[in-house]
């Protein structure tokens, strides 16, 4: 799928995502937010960073841009929309995904490598995935997922923070997210948001255990 990687002012991870997509053999290019033409692409990725400085609430200012109107169109056409970290925050603020992402429980930025358990296989990233426990890093201050309807949240969840054996425990929850949710998708599965950074788990040299689980997720875009 021809994939656009959008850069808002303040986005920091667009080059990392682009490099990882290339590594996963995805046809991708970086597009500046004002220059985005949704008709040219079948998929769009909103990378991590601090769009508009994360001022007001992370992702809130980006959510009201013209660019996001176009992304919404893509989503309603069934095209693929992926949001990573700040991208997830933007998707939630713009209403493309349900719920909210609140400040971490300990009110601090957290940078660490975690394990996530895959609990839905009907999304574009997780379809046909054999490995169910993935290792990748998080780096965020506003990653605590919240939804008023716990049952709904459960049905939408795609990734849950767990330990290396897949136990979804409180100890494995880095930020107080409801049900340990690290990522969700819409009901159709074409819009996916996740706080962990798969692009940072796509290269052996910089993975602490040389695993490249991020590539497993991005391969979903190479078809």
């Amino acid at each position: 799928m021809k994939t656009a990687v959008i850069k808002f002012p303040g986005t920091t991870c667009e080059v990392d995502v682009y490099k990882a997509l290339l590594e996963a053999k995805v046809d991708a290019e970086i597009v500046k937010f004002k220059d985005f033409d949704p008709d040219k692409y079948e998929a769009v990725v909103l990378p991590g960073g601090f769009s508009f400085g994360d001022y007001l609430r992370a992702g809130s200012i980006a959510a009201s841009t013209e660019t996001m109107k176009k992304v919404k169109e893509m989503a309603s056409e069934g095209k693929v929309v992926i949001g990573i970290c700040n991208g997830f925050q933007i998707l939630v603020e713009s209403g493309l995904l349900e719920g909210a992402l609140l400040p971490n429980l300990n009110l601090r930025f957290i940078s660490k490598w975690v394990y996530i358990k895959v609990v839905r296989d009907d999304t574009v990233l997780t379809r046909g995935l054999d490995k169910k426990i993935l290792r990748m890093p998080i780096a965020h201050a506003e990653g605590r997922y919240y939804h008023e309807d716990v049952e709904k949240a459960k049905s939408l969840a795609v990734f849950l923070y767990s330990d290396e054996f897949g136990n979804v425990s409180e100890k494995a929850n880095p930020n107080g997210s409801l049900l340990n949710i690290a990522g969700i998708a819409n009901e159709e599965g074409n819009v996916v948001g996740m706080m962990p950074h798969p692009e940072r788990a796509s290269f052996k040299l910089t993975s602490p255990t040389e695993e490249t689980d991020g590539l497993l997720l991005f391969r979903g875009l190479s078809k």
Binding site: F52, G53, I61
Partner: protein
């Protein structure tokens, strides 16, 4: 008597407020030209046990100063009692 006391912490006038500026430039200006300036700050609401309104206000002010709720070099504060319980306002 219980008093509800607001503490608003903002940057002093003349001290930059990037958050307010960014909201003004990228959100407010796209919505209307009638709003001229935006300043951002922090809002805290305290429920205070005190004998009178002045006492409640003084207590919150003292808290803010001694416990460094704000940095007097860059911030200014507004302390306001907004209502009380178990008695008249």
């Amino acid at each position: 008597m219980l008093y509800y006391v607001e503490l608003i912490i903002m940057n002093k006038d003349g001290v930059r407020d990037p958050e307010g500026e960014t909201i003004q430039r990228y959100v407010v200006n796209r919505f209307t030209s009638e709003i001229l300036e935006t300043r951002a700050g922090k809002y805290l609401l305290f429920k205070v046990n005190a004998n009178n309104q002045q006492e409640a206000e003084n207590l919150v002010r003292k808290l803010a100063e001694e416990m460094r709720l704000y940095n007097p070099i860059v911030h200014k504060i507004e302390v306001k009692v907004i209502r009380s319980e178990n008695g008249s306002n």
